[in-house]
Point group: C2
Chain length 229, copies 2
DNA sequence: CGGGTACTTGACTCTGGTCAAGATTTGTGG
DNA sequence: CCACAAATCTTGACCAGAGTCAAGTACCCG
């Protein structure tokens, strides 16, 4: 049922529930705020929006995976977050997106107009409170990531990443990473080679096992937690 | 008029306006939400609150400077932000402080009970909107800091820091840094020696001048902006 | 099954960290 | 106001962890 056109395509039907089951539309905001959510499908590596573009919509991942990132003028990239089914992204209190967003793999998102959400927040304090907590949760994550980038070693960063991804996308004991080594490096402030070496070392030590480069089984969570600090 | 007791001391009088002029109390929130703000004075290096402590109050710097930080178990420290007069800090949507806070120098803060602010937000959408924008501004800063920590060189980080501090605390062409080299390093994800070497190099190149290690005059903003990327 | 992308691994480099003095600044008590 | 102590800052020499460059290998996907 996945649309494969280059341009983002409108999905009239509800997206099929993925590994995560059906995704509650915007935490029920669309329900009690009377907002209409539309679905779109994006292909692998397709841009959802660019850095500093007007923030017209707020998005929620239904199926697939997104990366948000900033670029320096010479091409260095820092990924701010990976967004998986259920996650809201692109919510801004200002008028512009501060990071760009791209689909990591073919993905479906649900979206609502930012102006409508803001309007709902202006008349319903429950909506206003929800917007605040979504942003506050993002800030909490960002502060933890600042600690990781400022003070943790390469191995500590990779261990942290594996535990985060294990929590968010392990199904039946195995983790299917949607992103490549370069994405992981750009998220952790490392090169793709350093990420690869760290994963190989963990494999050699029996902490994890591979069944394909992006199919990982964690065999010793405690060892990883000790490495993460 | 600065109280010098070890314990935080209640200031009955309005704090004298500093270099920044009088600080608008919580952006007018205290006015239209009917909240009462109290003032306290803290001595250099005194803790305002610890990491994971219950978030009972929200703070605003009136005079002085604060650092908020996270610690790893082995003592590595990451400073999340420096807070200067006018800045709000300690605002949480949850019940705990996610970073600890300390006074960098003798400082005065204004504070309101978090519960009262939350209650005001539950009845007044303007208050709710203000809390959201304060948190969203913090998130924007955090995302820029993530880019700095993940992808910028030592010199780029120091140049960025100098431009930020120049904007926030230069008076009459000179910048009086309240924080030591270790604080700067722990903010920028560097060691104090690396910070010192970068500043010395900028001094040698004529980009800045010292009149005391913490009294800095920027002589070439454009060169710094070019270094910052 | 074949081609292209992604991943791994090795050899070497280099930026920033570590350790150790020494210099400067700041704070304090006489 | 000065002298001294303590803290902070600078600088040097050396080191190590992560980056760079370059093959070679594995894994998809058509």
């Amino acid at each position: 049922m996945l649309t494969r056109s280059i341009a983002p395509s409108l999905n009239v039907n509800r997206a099929a529930p993925g590994a995560f089951g059906p995704v509650e539309p915007f935490f029920g905001l669309t329900g009690h705020a009377g907002l209409i959510a539309t679905e779109f499908t994006y292909r692998k590596d397709e841009e959802i929006y660019g850095e500093d573009e007007p923030a017209e919509y707020v998005y929620q991942v239904v199926r697939g995976a997104m990366r948000t990132y900033k670029l320096l003028s010479d091409g260095r990239r820092q990924i701010g977050a990976f967004h998986l089914p259920g996650d809201v992204f692109g919510l801004e209190s200002g008028t512009k997106h501060r990071l760009a967003a791209e689909a990591i793999i073919d993905s479906t998102v649900r979206l609502v107009k930012r102006r409508r959400l803001e309007h709902a927040a202006g008349t319903d304090v429950r909506v206003a409170h929800k917007l605040w907590t979504i942003t506050a949760d993002d800030l909490k994550r960002a502060e933890e990531h600042i600690l990781l980038l400022g003070r943790k070693s390469a191995m500590e960063r990779v261990a942290n990443f594996l535990l985060e991804m294990d929590r968010r996308l392990t199904v039946a004991g195995t983790m299917a990473l949607p992103m490549c080594r370069r994405d992981i490096g750009d998220y952790l402030g490392l090169t793709l080679e350093t990420v690869s070496r760290a994963l190989s070392q963990l494999n050699d030590e029996g902490v994890l096992g591979f069944s394909g480069a992006r199919q990982i089984v964690l065999r010793n969570h405690q060892r990883l937690r000790n490495m993460d600090i």
